[in-house]
Amino acid sequence: MMEPAGDALIQEDHELIELSFPAHPDLVVLARFAAATVAARAGFDVEEIEDLRLAVDELFVSLGPMTRNACVRIELDRRGDTVSIVSSFEGVTARSAMERAMGQQDETWEKAAELSELLLDSLVDEHGRETRSGGPVAWLSKRRSFAQ
């Protein structure tokens, strides 16, 4: 039986997109746009694309408040029908780390962190957060549904 050409391409394709931009909330829309594009290329349906857009936002919430003089780095890795996204801060200084820690004690951020965890649990297949030498890193992975 012949496989549809589009599916065959999706199964074989692998692409990595890297974005880096100043850590400013106005620019998070760039990450959402990139995630939606990669998800569409992986064959996600509209609902799954919307889920991934929200999940990317939640990755930034789990990283904590954005601080001056830092950059956001985001890697979008598509392998077949799975999209993996890693986000991190670059150029984090001791001062900006302290500012971020103080910002996370803000009531809104405390509430958001709990809600964000619930959203990520529901929206993606896997997600996590860890601290590496350069600062916090948040990641997720979402596979296309086969119900299509």
Binding site: P25, V29, L54, V61, E107, L115, S116, L118, L119, L123
Partner: protein, 115 residues
């Protein structure tokens, strides 16, 4: 009853403006507030955190913060986080009008950057 109308994508960039609007209303003594999310298309956890914070302050003052929501994606976010049981959620602007017959303050908060 004041109505805060929120449109577009409410994310990390826009949530501070929403918080500011709600804080101003609370500071002015309003403890019964409607947030109209009918034309909102995206709501992240930061925006939800702002709404939950304002809801708690309204209830502490003896009032309530009610939501107007029809967009399925926004409703889904509220369901996932369990907040659909926390907020009083309405689906029609008529419900606001009827509880606002003496003319309420309307404040419009639009998405800062349209895509």
């Amino acid at each position: 009853m004041p109505v805060v109308v929120v449109t577009g994508e409410i994310d990390l960039a826009v949530a501070p403006s929403l918080r500011e609007s709600l804080t101003e209303l609370l500071a002015a003594g309003h403890c019964n507030i409607f947030v109209d999310l009918i034309d909102a298309t995206f709501l992240d956890s930061i925006a939800l955190g702002v709404l939950v914070g304002a809801l708690e302050q309204c209830r502490e003052a003896g009032g309530d913060l009610k939501l107007l929501v029809t967009e399925p994606r926004i409703l889904r976010v509220l369901e996932i986080t369990g907040l659909s049981a926390t907020f009083s959620i309405h689906s029609s602007r008529d419900e606001v009008s009827s509880s606002n017959s003496n003319g309420g303050l309307r404040e419009r908060l639009e998405e800062a950057s349209q895509q």
